[in-house]
Amino acid sequence: MAKIESSFLDLDYLDSLAYRDSPIHRLDPRIKLITTLLFIVCVVSFGKHELSALLPFAIYPVALLLLAKLPPGYILRKILLVAPFALGIGVFNPLFDRATLLHIGSLEISGGWISFASLMLRFVLTVSAALILVACTGFDSLCLALARLGVPSVFVVQLLLLYRYLFVLTDEAVRLARARSQRSFGRRGMELPVIASLLAQLLLRTLDRAQRVYLAMQCRGFDGELRLLRPLRIGTTDVAFLVGCTTALLGLRFADQIPALGNAIGGLLSS
């Protein structure tokens, strides 16, 4: 139970990071959203055996992490927490693809291991980019950005309401689960009928709460729309960031930079 509570404390913490102040935090949320998506598309667009060309992309999350003053250990822990699914699928690659692709001395490395490493690298890159986006933007601003980018308002309102009541209802669920675990020992009291009635109680309370929320919103003139009053403005810094990131990302994607880099350094060494 302690685990669940702490994971939700975590959720709160991730959003609280958005209240810090840094050049990255001050960027327009739309710009950050678009850049993050571009980054993810660039990373996953490589072939499955590509490893070396993916590595330079690590610059983007590292730079953002530091510029936005986010705690790297925390982000890393969150990445590790969700790694099992990608790991579970990727781990079959070395079993099925045994053709040797790379020699390091006498050590032969099969294509499967390379594609596995590539997959995990992509996983770390994409997940960290998404987490950094939330940590330096905040959920409300992201929803605002979505609304301005043309996402239907019903969906944006849904996201905002969901996020608002998430904490209330998870607190309630945690209280229910704690009460149950204090009245039963080991796995007793974890049977389906018990849980079903717990969930049903929670559902009934939720329906009542929805009714109260609706009435309260009606009293305040709710007409099916939430009006977000925060102004959004794209300034020169935002444009510069977008142009810079786009150029850098597309450059990394399409230039064959690794051998070029290797060659350049090699050239320096030999001259």
């Binding site: 669940i4 959720l11 998506l37 996953v44 667009s45 072939g47 499955k48 590509e50 070396s52 590595l55 690590a58 590292v62 510029l67 969150k78 969700v82 699928i89 990727g90 079959f92 079993l95 040797t100 692709l101 594609s115 997959l119 994409t126 997940v127 998404a130 986006l133 939330v134 959920f139 996402v151 019903v154 969906f155 849904q158 905002l160 309401l161 969901l162 998430l166 209330v168 209802l169 389906l192 009928p193 849980i195 009635s197 049903a200 559902l203 009934l204 939720t206 329906l207 929805a210 609706y214 099916g224 070029a260 290797g262 060659n263 350049a264 350094i265 090699g266 050239g267 060494l269 030999s270």
Partner: protein, 349 residues
Amino acid sequence: MHMADALISPLVGGVMWAATAGITAYGARRLKAGGDDRVVPLMGVLGAFIFAAQMINFSIPGTGSSGHLGGGMILSILLGPYAAFLAMASVLTVQALFFADGGLLALGCNIFNLAFLPCFVAYPLIYRTIVGAHASEKRVRAASILAAIVGLQLGALAVVLETLFSEVSELPFSTFLLLMLPIHLAIGIVEGLLTAAVVTFVGKARPGAWAAAPTVAPLPGSGRLLARWLLLTAITGGLLSWFASTRLDGLEWAIFHSSGREALSAPATDAHSLAAALQERTAVLPDYSLPPAADRSDAGEVAATGGEEEEQWPDVNLATSFSGLLGATLSMLLAGLLGFILLRLRQRH
């Protein structure tokens, strides 16, 4: 069950994004046309309920593992397919953003697998058909279980297909299917049992609860519109991926196998060839390999012109690996150095 960004290709992600964006816009329009704004807070709070319900685990008898409520089916029963789809989509969006459970690019796939399939396929075709007009407890139970199973099986199948089309995993189709379907059969049975138990309990405790929940009836002809739209998406996606796999990946595959490199940089312009010439002259590791031995001197040209000499492909020599590794290490060092400099700058402020 949640697809990750790393497991899909941009093409698959893009097609699924387009599909779910279309369905979301359609669902939002349908909901607005319904004109009942009572559904707005209800959707929001019920979406939060799904999160909360997933925190209460229960033990599956005889296995030692535990399961929890999935969400798509119970939301559909409570809210009707349109509102349930939007609520489920919002749950998945929050999971992607805050828990990194499924990625941003994979969000389209996840919404399709875990929201569209249960809400628009399993619910109307299975649940509504079995329950019919007069909902008895037995029917509700059977319908919930069956619909949850079918929804999850379809979702698992979709995960397999999306991974397959993305060509990232080496898992053969049948093996992957055999891994995914039985697991999700078990999960589906458990979810179905739980859904049925909750639905019947609420029905008994408060008989009016289901009737009170606002439902949005589909307008006549809307099903056909949706079907047509889906068909269009499927055809576009299929054509695009076929084209991409025959033209691009096939080519890359051949080049890859013949030269041991993923792609060849094409010196198309003068600037390119000038840079290449400069590189050739200055580099210790020209073109990724040590100065070629006499017997393989034309390997580079062969790969560049046609790439058909299959027998050469495992012949990736030490130098190729070495310059690849060198480049990779250098870029890692560069990233680290940049981080270090930024850290220093930050500390000085």
